[in-house]
Assembly symmetry: none
Homo-oligomer: 121 residues x 4
DNA sequence: GTGGTCTAGACCACA
DNA sequence: GTGGTCTAGACCACA
């Protein structure tokens, strides 16, 4: 797991986004234990308060849960994970389509563009 | 021209984004005169300083220019407008593809998804 | 005589500067009659008030003088013209040296630079 | 670091210019931390908004960068600093040569003049 | 009328 | 503590 941060948005938000992606894409496995806040703080060179804030958000989304005195775990609920994945996907698709529409770019052009990008890679 | 503002990002940024879209999509025509800062301020119920800040950004992007004591105009340079449009489009496409890849969604799935959205509408 | 204007400084100032240069460099001859404000206004596409303001400045500098009901003339006084030329020159040289010093560039480097520029042309 | 302000141009521009000089001449070292906006405001007796505006310009020029909630730093990029220094130097030299040419003063005369200034000092 | 600058001061998120 | 945003409002030069 690698994390990248820029100065364009709050660090805790960037952390939430990246952890969400690791969870919904399965790169962090369901039910797995998370490193402690202290550990994460050291590893990522981020203030523990900021880590805590990010993890709190993930807990609100029911993607992780806390076992008192024991640590934090990724949910085992495929349903929760799937729901978040679907939400994220839909949100991003809708936003993308809207953006393209506002730019005056049709669905056909988008698809053509995507296919070309596919060939180049 | 309609403008909508939410509380998720600074007003001046939202104004810049919306004006950019109006310009690159041609809804404000190249060379056209913009309403004065005072007028926009009244219309949008936004402080003139905030309007000024947004327009300054657009001027930095060379999408508008200022005639001293006369007013502000959209650039007539199709090149500038086209360049910005291309930049905005590419940026959003790349971001979208990256997001989808991180979510573990393949290009084929995206296209399928887009086509389905097309049918629904 | 050609005039060029940008939006970086007030037009009347740009007009003063350009006229000063034409006078001190002799491109407008001493004692010569200037076009009327109306004519200049038409030619340069500049508001007559702006022309008037610029000419007033030149009159304060004793580079031109007004013959009531007859028009405006460039001074015949070589002394006045020479004095202004010297002032402008010294001012610009001092400013340039100061700028270069602030940039940490020595006199020797400047001269080297100038000579190189000479060769290229 | 000393700052001087006159009434000939906007304060924020003068501040930008002076900070640029301090940066490109190395008097503020690359990577160094700038005083906070509030501190500068107090020291220079200038409104924080005006300071902010000046620093924003420097950030646009990529001469400084912001660490969220932490402060502002001079870039460590020698490339950026060098590029700006070169730009400033060339600009001023070209402007100077043009001015002198318009005044009808030859390169030889300029150099003679510079050398004389050297002797006087 | 136009845009530009500046101040005072409040308020916010973030770390 | 840090920077960022926004408003209210004054004032200015210019055309």
């Amino acid at each position: 797991m690698n994390f990248y941060f820029d100065n364009d948005s709050p660090i805790y938000i960037q952390l939430v986004e990246q952890l969400k992606l690791y969870i919904v894409s399965g790169k962090i496995e369901p039910g797995g234990k998370l490193p402690s806040i202290r550990e994460l703080s050291l590893q990522l060179q981020i203030n523990p308060n900021t880590i805590q804030k990010a993890l709190q958000e993930l807990e609100n989304l029911e993607l992780i849960y806390t076992e008192r005195t024991n640590g934090k775990y990724v949910t085992s609920s495929k349903k929760n994970i799937g729901k978040t994945k679907k939400e994220m996907t839909n949100e991003k698709i809708i936003e993308f389509i809207t953006d393209m529409a506002n730019l005056g770019i049709s669905k056909e052009e988008i698809i053509k563009n995507l296919l070309e990008l596919g060939e180049k890679e």
